[in-house]
């Protein structure tokens, strides 16, 4: 397909961010948001495969009912490593720190983020903290689970809890600085004409995510600090034998960790909102409701943490309120799913790899969200708490949702970021493989949960064997699906065809600059004078219908 002449690269060549000084030193001291994004991408990819290795061992262990591969203690350490690495060192920074970092300035017509040096600081805090925790996880391990529940974590666990939470604490500052940077950038550095309601929904999503990062992360930081103090001096406020209250820890922990789910999934929604209109050749349906829904999810998301504690002994009236609020958050989430579907309606749909990933995201997010409604129901939750139903639910949201959307975004903007095209067929194949492998892995876990299989055990009763074998077999497919992009995207860096400026004929300022973008981003200050997602021909026909 040949893009119209207007979309071809400008003849004048400004040095791209991948040219010029390519020494290691230049990269490690760069303040260019694009290079920092690449460094983040490399780091989180490494952590993804470390967390994935732990998951692989878990699934191998669970292929048979007997605990024959690892001991119960080792199993505890494995799922802790899997959870800690995946949540804090992959999912939280994944989309904001990589695609967000790369794209937000380009999308709003800015030269860089507001605080480039702070951006680099954020990267080093992330790497330093994550490696610190990783060292603790490898040198002896931690057996508390990623939730670090007291009093087990403060009084009884004999593992490296302090070192692990110290690293998470440091990575928290990376989150805060990244969020702060995005908030100031979106407020102060938009190009002339780029009003808030002309912002791409991806920017809206990153903005809302940043607000959560800035408001929730300090709560986790201080809570982990208090946990550490209590563990070191054996005095504190979480252990009941000291006059403390373990529920206090749970409240504070989930005050961060529930909004953290939206840190993971809001940017994913932003990516879907960019890709689906592009490959349906249709403006996003209900742009303003989409923006308001993002804000609503971010706000309500702060008020639902207590649904993690329905069986903890918190007041049943508190439980009722948290249950109702949890149902409320389903409304803006559903609005988004309906609007993506309506965007497809009468669109001219093509199934390029980013679109398959994005549609996979919508489907998996919907399945995960629907099962969330089950868990928000007080009575049903008593039955399902700490079973594989919960495991399946949050993996559908975080892995089926966020990771799939992250891959969608990587495939969508890969030509822009690297200046190379990847083999389309392989990418489509991987997208389908991941979708199938994911469902194969995690759908059986819903059924296991309903049948009552508890989570976090390394052995199980024989009646759960069939579904566990299915799940482990699915994990093999899923693992292949995740390894494939590494191969063909790596290949494309060397052998891939040169990418044009706008291979998908997408709207948005990032597609008006060459691929890969020049170091300065824009040769001249862009001025924005049209609405977002002005995709022909549907845009034109809808406009006609409106007049």
């Amino acid at each position: 397909m040949t893009p119209p002449a207007a979309l071809l690269p400008a003849p004048a060549h400004a040095a791209s961010y991948l040219e010029g000084d390519m020494s290691i030193r230049a990269w490690l001291t760069t303040r260019d948001h694009k290079r920092i994004a690449i460094m983040f991408a490399i780091a989180i990819t490494a952590f993804f495969f470390i967390g994935g290795a732990a998951a692989t061992l878990i699934r191998i262990e669970l292929a048979t009912p007997a605990g024959d591969l690892v001991s119960a203690e080792t199993y505890n350490k494995l799922f802790t490593m899997h959870g800690v690495v995946m949540v804090w060192f992959f999912l939280i920074p994944s989309i904001p720190a990589t695609l967000g970092n790369f794209l937000v300035p380009l999308m709003i017509g800015a030269k860089d983020l507001a605080f480039p040096r702070l951006n680099l600081t954020s990267f080093y805090l992330y790497v330093g903290g994550a490696l610190f925790t990783l060292a603790a996880l490898f040198a002896g391990g931690v057996d508390t689970g990623w939730t670090f529940y007291t009093p087990f974590s403060t009084m009884f666990s004999n593992t490296n809890v302090i070192a692990a939470i110290a690293g998470v604490f440091i990575v928290g500052f990376s989150s805060i600085l990244t969020g702060l940077n995005f908030i100031v950038t979106v407020h102060k550095l938009r190009a002339p004409g780029m009003t808030f309601f002309r912002l791409p929904l991806f920017v809206w999503a990153i903005y809302a995510t940043s607000v959560i990062l800035v408001l929730a992360t300090p709560v986790l930081g201080m809570t982990l600090a208090l946990l550490g103090i209590e563990r070191i001096w054996h005095i504190g406020i979480f252990d009941p034998s000291l006059g403390g209250d373990p529920l206090l820890f749970q409240h504070l922990f989930w005050f961060y960790s529930h909004p953290a789910v939206y840190i993971m999934v809001l940017p994913a929604m932003g990516i879907a909102s960019e890709i689906i209109p592009c490959f349906a050749r249709s403006p996003v349906f209900g742009y303003r409701t989409m923006a308001y829904a993002i804000i609503a999810i971010a706000v309500i998301g702060f008020l639902v943490w207590g649904h993690h504690m329905f069986v903890s002994g918190q007041s049943v009236y508190a439980g009722l309120v948290f249950s109702i609020l949890s149902y409320l958050v389903a409304i803006p989430s559903a609005i988004k799913v309906f609007n993506w579907t309506a965007t497809l309606y009468k669109g001219s749909i093509s199934f390029d790899a980013p679109m398959i990933y994005a549609l996979g995201f919508v489907g998996l997010f919907m399945l995960g969200g629907m099962s969330g409604l089950f868990l928000a129901a007080l009575a049903l939750d008593v039955q399902l708490t700490d079973t594989y139903f919960v495991v399946a639910h949050f993996h559908y949201i975080m892995v089926g949702g966020s990771v799939t959307a992250y891959l969608a975004g990587i495939h969508f903007w890969w030509p822009k970021i690297t200046g190379r095209m990847y083999p389309a067929r392989w990418a489509q194949f991987a997208a389908v493989l991941i979708f199938l492998g994911f469902n194969f892995t995690f759908f059986p876990q819903y059924l296991l949960g309903i049948e009552g299989m508890p989570r976090r055990y390394h052995e199980y009763a024989p009646q759960f064997t069939t579904l566990n074998v299915l799940s482990s077999a699915g994990a093999v497919i899923l693992a292949m699906g995740y390894l494939l992009p590494l191969v063909y995207l790596g290949w494309s860096l060397v052998r891939g065809a040169r990418a044009p400026q706008n291979p998908w004929r997408a709207t948005g300022l990032e597609w008006t600059v060459p691929s890969p973008p020049p170091t300065e981003n824009f040769a001249t200050q862009p001025h924005v004078d049209e609405e977002p997602y002005a995709y022909p021909p549907v845009a034109a026909s809808r406009q006609e219908a409106a007049t």
Binding site: A110, K111, H187, K188, L189, P192, P218, G221, I237, Q525
Partner: protein, 229 residues
Amino acid sequence: MTTAIASAEARPRAETPAAAADKPGLAATPPLRRREMAFGMWVFLTTETLFFGVLFFAYAAMRFAHPAAFAAASRHTDVAMGTLNTAVLLTSSVTMALAVEAAEIGRARIAARLMTATLALGIVFLAIKGYAYHREYTEHLFPGAAFHFAGPLAGGAETFFWIYFVTTGFHALHLAIGVGVVGFMAWRLARGGLAAQSAASIVNAGLYWHFVDIVWIFLYPALYLVSRS
């Protein structure tokens, strides 16, 4: 610098020349950059508020769980030193506010002196706090094996003192960082004037200093005054 691309004429909210003339000390930093910096600091202070919010929440929850013990324990805090420290810290906020004003109108030397006074008052606060800690330690009020509190309320009292040491400790840590930042800026200001140390950064340091002050304004009644009478 990121400001080159968004020129002043493209920004309708750029300051009028008259407003800029009032504060010549700020001229070294473009208006957009100043707004970015101030906004960034406000966002950071929002984060800090939530950071301390956990401590106040823990205080409220524990006070609710052990009301009598908290009332008894708070009578063992040194209210005279707490009050003196409140006065010291409020005074330091005055000198800091004046330093910011002086820097904004371009009076670098006065600003440097006022900032030196600010950091001196900060150090006085920390010294008094350290002395109070020492007294409490010798009175066996530091939680742990050596903790001693007569009467049946010892458990709750230990929780009170745990919260007391953690909250005032985190506050003192923030103040120590403030002393370092203000000291560094005063040093640069004294050496090179407003060319070496931008007034816009001093404005931000002032915001931070006042924030640390406000945290104390909440800590002081919560730890020293509530149910003391």
